[in-house]
Amino acid sequence: MHALLIVDRDARSSLSQDLQSKVTALVEGKGHSLEILEVGSNDVVPCLGCLLCMTDRRRHGDCVIDDAVAKLNRRIGDFDLVCFLGPIAFGQFSSTIKNVTDKAKTIRMLRSRSLIAIGYGNDVRDEETATFLDVYRKHRGVADTVHTLVQERFEAFASHSLADNDAVCAELGRVL
């Protein structure tokens, strides 16, 4: 299995670095190949909502803006698993990773498709964690929101501490 880990370069903390290294070790320990994509807040232009990627035949599904996600989308079909790792902001991914999830064309992962959302933050409140898990778990199966025809696995985890990181990786190990 070929996995991709997308991380927020601008939101590094001891918690996120510990989580990233543990997830990396876990995925590679299972014998999967892993690529890490670090994105910063100015690497991805937010989705404009123009829908030209869906409605303009000449675009062949491509975004009108050639940013880091557009480059990723050209080869996203090579991956079997995409894991989004980013800070939680009020109960959803903060803007940098959210811009990636808004634009990533996971529908192109036709070989097999597993999506994982891992949110983190030292001061995340319980209600925010519950909302974060709801956003991804409640709608799993139609997680690729635009393209509901393809069922997919979408798992969500949240970590508030280094101890949580171990628990997240233990659960993740059962999923992988």
Binding site: G61, A89, Q92, S95, K98
Partner: protein
């Protein structure tokens, strides 16, 4: 409420869509504004931006922080707020941390999604409520709209939309203490029609993905 110049209530209408004036969110805000009394309310229009190498101008964040009420209008992206909208809230939160104020700004939401069922918007509302709890803002209520463009298309004859916007406008101009229940608006068009359009777009995207994969 403290009020702005001449005792006017300061209300910020925030277009959380990057489609700008063409956005459904912007049209819903315009519909709401028709019910606001200019003799009582001073309206400021704000909009999210795509490229922010240095973040939002301090003036924008100060205006949000000083408002008596903020109406956030945005489209639903992946069951929550679009990246551009959450960026504005992040920066507002940072600004509020650095400039604490005893203000109890009232917050309203107008959210629309591509699904016929407006309850799909619920998680996005939870995100905004969490944001309000963090900043000590006063959550009021949301109008959750299923298939925004379809609702807008029939807006002249949609009395439920009119009543919902009127109730938001009335609430903006009062000091009622309790938050109200969210209002759900389904499109007047038959659901089967909405689902057919949506599935047609889904199939088209899937065909395109398969074509790309096979290198055809």
């Amino acid at each position: 409420m403290t009020g702005g110049p001449a005792g006017l209530l300061r209300v910020c209408l925030v277009n959380g869509s990057l489609r700008g004036p063409k956005a459904s969110s912007n049209h819903f805000l315009a519909c709401l504004e028709r019910f606001l009394d200019p003799a009582k309310i001073e309206v400021a229009h704000l909009a999210v931006r795509a490229k922010l190498p240095n973040g939002y101008p301090e003036e924008t964040l100060a205006r949000l922080s000083a408002a008596d009420a903020v109406v956030l209008a945005f489209p639903l992206f992946s069951y929550c707020l679009p990246g551009a909208t959450i960026r504005l809230l992040e920066e507002w939160a940072h600004y509020a941390d650095a400039h604490p104020a005893a203000k109890h700004t009232r917050v309203y939401v107008l959210v629309n999604c591509g699904y016929a069922d407006p309850k799909v918007n619920d998680e996005a509302i939870h995100v905004v409520r969490n944001f309000c709890a963090r900043l000590g803002l006063e959550w009021r209520f949301a109008i959750e709209i299923g298939c925004g463009p379809a609702v807008l298309m029939l807006a002249p004859i949609d009395l439920r939309l009119r009543r919902a916007l009127q109730s938001m406008a009335a609430d903006l101009q009062t000091t009622a203490p309790e938050a109200k229940d969210n209002v759900y608006l389904w499109p007047l068009l038959p659901r089967i029609l909405m689902d057919t359009i949506r599935q047609s777009l889904d199939r088209k995207a899937l065909r395109e993905a398969i074509r790309r994969q096979s290198g055809a």
